[in-house]
Symmetry: C2
Subunit: 351 residues, 2 copies
């Protein structure tokens, strides 16, 4: 029995990942867009270097902790794409003294605290909620926008523009639906830009979601894209149509522990603490947590059938043995699991 | 503004946790049961000491990695309640040379590999599937049971009995349903015991789930209990009726980032990488990921209303501001989140 992979292990295919990065960088270039990739997906200094090799110099993260890690790794132009946590003002101010830092506001209070406490020059975006309803100012809420702009006048903070994340594309059921959400979003953002660019001629419009950035061809009015997941993609993106199976760059390698031919299922060592409990609904209407595929010569292969993980507990993963290949598996074999959400699996297994 | 809790932090109430441990230990004693608590919930050497203070000397874990950690911390009687991973045979053999180790088999092949490779004395349980259908041998599959027993004859491995985990109680809708699952399980296990104890008079029957161990009063035929979650409990157990709110011993403390009165929602810094995406369905039929309650003087308080987390992404948590209290929250405030599943939140935030 070959050694290695005796416990669940996150594996990246460097060639595919570099190719995904290259393709998105080229797409941004072709559309005249600033490419500021989100590093929350990989959170890896090593993978960061692959972006650097594509000429990327500006990045996005979603916490001050991550910003500090990548600043230490030499990145000096970072947007924290999460509304400012005013309890971290000291750390933010410290980092703003070291690198070019952009913050995010969606409440005047955040801007007021930042204006008072951030002594070093920093940029900020106003987070706009163009339909996802997670965070952000509604685009017609000019009162709030004006209060934020007013709070920062004459301070070390510079208004950089409007930023959004159409995370609702992740719940879409078709490429057309993704494009519909994207087009609605860029319409609202373009309008915002027209309303504010007379006073702020330099403002940028920044969008973020991987589905839109992957499949859209229309970026009218957009200046910057911040996708992150596209570097790895995953089962969710594959099901959404954002990528082909051969563009998925990450998998979790797991040992088969037991097989249960009586119920066409098998057990892997690989559970919620390795893959996360993120699920999607398969085309058969089942809740699934990953797709099990062969792992041969250190490479994962194409799916052999609907060998889906149908249940996860802390360390256990149960999958249905639908294909001829999976029915032939035995204890001690090694399989690859394409995770539903690579960002969460990467976070769980980063070490 | 008080310092601390500027990022999501896992907090344990030591008094409540010790009281939960004491109560379960007393219950086991009253029913003449061996109490071998599952340490996968806390995975904490420090919390382990609180068990030691209650006289606990034998424990359960769900991976060889955890077993090695607790063996290093002085625990010398450990059951790995996960079917044996034959790719970890060397590590298992090494540990069996140091402590009293019990393994789990649900396939003859595992027993065959163990018989060949485990040189040090070790015990083993046969995992029985009495309804959860995650892992285990069906109780009527005597052929498989016999093959396992045969494979270990004349080896360093000793048959200890049958072990099960009725994880299906976690999906029950009432205390009566939990008791129904429990009674069915102990009926099947008792029958197994009667069938095998003439040849193996010392065999034990071991059960594990927190809901059954918390509320059942009938343990006929059972020798050992292995609950783990009860040390912390959580929102799932509270909703199941396994515990009172005042018995919940763990919460994730999070800063409020933004409030959105237009849609009665607020954003916390606390997402899937802190709480896990484990969800339950609220009494209103909504999918929820946690309950937001006040956090005052370093203690969490009773719920003020249905202030449920309704959406989680990597670092974002969105909750509905249903109560008067939650409607008055502002950016920079600190709240406590009662997680749906404390085991997963503890795993995510252990550091």
């Amino acid at each position: 029995m070959k050694s290695g992979f005796h416990i669940p292990s996150f594996l990246i295919d460097e060639i595919i990942c570099r190719s995904n990065i290259h393709r998105m960088a080229q797409k941004a270039l072709a559309h005249g867009l600033i490419f500021r990739p989100h590093f929350k997906t990989h959170q890896s200094v090593e993978v960061g270097e692959w972006f650097k090799d594509e000429g990327i110099r500006a990045i996005t993260v979603s916490s001050l902790t991550m910003a500090a890690i990548f600043a230490d790794a030499g990145w000096n132009d970072i947007t924290i794409a999460f509304p400012m946590n005013i309890r971290e003002t000291d750390g933010i101010n410290h980092l703003a003294g070291k690198i070019r830092l952009n913050l995010l506001f969606d409440m005047p209070q955040q801007a007021l605290v930042a204006s008072k406490k951030i002594a070093h020059p920093a940029g900020y975006f106003i987070k706009a909620d163009v339909g996802y309803h997670r965070s952000g100012v509604e685009p017609n809420d000019h009162e709030t926008i004006q209060l934020i702009l007013k709070a920062t006048q004459g301070t070390s903070l510079t208004f950089k523009g409007f930023l959004t994340h159409s995370g609702n594309t992740y719940h879409a059921n078709s490429r057309d639906e993704i494009l519909g959400i994207h087009n609605d979003a860029i319409g609202l953002l373009h309008e915002l830009k027209l309303q504010y660019q007379s006073l702020y001629p330099e403002i940028l419009i920044s969008i973020g979601d991987t589905p839109s950035c992957s499949i859209a061809k229309n970026f009218t009015g957009i200046d910057e894209i911040r996708p992150g997941n596209f570097a790895y993609f995953d089962l969710m993106q594959y099901h959404l149509g954002s990528c082909g199976f051969d563009e998925i760059a990450a998998a979790v390698i797991c040992p088969v522990i037991s097989v249960y031919p009586r119920r066409n299922q098998a057990l892997i060592y690989g559970g919620a603490v390795h893959l996360s409990k993120e699920s999607i609904i398969s085309k058969n209407g089942d809740k699934i947590f990953g797709l099990v595929v062969p792992f041969i010569s250190d490479k994962w292969e194409n799916p052999q059938g609907d060998d889906y993980l149908v249940s996860l507990s802390q360390e256990h993963g149960i999958f249905t043995t639908e294909s001829q290949w999976s029915k032939s598996l035995n204890t001690g074999d090694i399989v690859a699991v394409i995770p539903v959400h690579s960002c969460l699996a990467a976070d769980l297994l980063k070490k």
